[in-house]
């Protein structure tokens, strides 16, 4: 994870995304559930994580350009 651009798909409340944030260059968390994304954003603010972003979205249609990430996490997502 060190220095990598990480995408956490189905990130839920962001616990994994925030867990890898201190190692990664940047982390983006995506989940279709607006409520859990709101909780994840709150947790990121509380943790002071500046390289983490959370957004609402589905894995079937990712709003990112080709080759945007070095690592993708699917935890309890498939």
């Amino acid at each position: 994870m060190l220095g990598k651009r990480v995408l956490d798909l189905g990130c839920g409340d962001g616990r994994f995304a925030l867990g890898v944030a201190s190692f990664a260059a940047s982390v983006e968390g995506l989940d279709p559930d607006e409520e859990v994304i709101a909780a994840a954003k709150k947790a990121a603010r509380k943790a002071g994580a500046r390289n983490v972003r959370f957004g609402v979205g589905a894995a079937q249609r990712l709003p990112h350009p080709d080759g945007a990430f070095d690592v993708v996490l699917l935890s309890w997502t498939l």
């Binding site: 894995a59 080759g67 070095d70 690592v71 993708v72 699917l74 935890s75 997502t77 498939l78």
Partner: protein, 138 residues
């Protein structure tokens, strides 16, 4: 699911890594009492029948993505994850609310033993399957 894996392939840089972790329903979970050293197995918790087709579909989606040449398997295996509870009642409540598992554990100790330790810490130990896949240049 395969469509999502195609999207993952698209957004990964060449040589990028996909880490997938999901419940392993091929192995039973265990209800255990936490002791000072180690655990004492109290019961077996099976996965609900309704969840099994979803788990098999996930397995097939990964296999298909590999077969299509999107990813190369680098490593896979299983580890055990513990979900802690303050008492037997909390564990039962979790099973009642958690749709993945059947609602009642199959106890392997007698009722008197369960009652004796009912207010001590319990865990459900469940298997997690993981795969590390590398994006193939296709």
């Amino acid at each position: 699911m395969v469509h999502a894996l195609r999207e993952v392939h698209r957004v990964l840089a060449p040589g990028g890594i996909l880490i997938d972790a999901r419940p392993d329903s091929r192995v039973a979970a265990y209800a255990e009492r936490r002791k000072r050293q180690g655990f004492q197995r109290f019961g077996v918790v099976n996965t609900s029948r309704r969840e099994l087709p979803n788990d098999r579909a996930s397995d097939r989606a990964i296999a298909r993505a590999v077969h299509e040449g999107l990813f190369k398997r680098r490593r896979r295996g299983r580890f055990w994850h513990s979900v802690p509870f303050g008492s037997l009642a909390e564990l039962r409540q979790y099973l009642w609310e958690h749709l993945r598992f059947v609602r009642r554990a199959r106890w392997v100790v007698d009722e008197a033993t369960r009652m004796r330790y009912a207010n001590e810490p319990f865990v459900i130990r469940r298997a997690v399957r993981y795969e590390i896949l590398e994006r193939a240049t296709r």
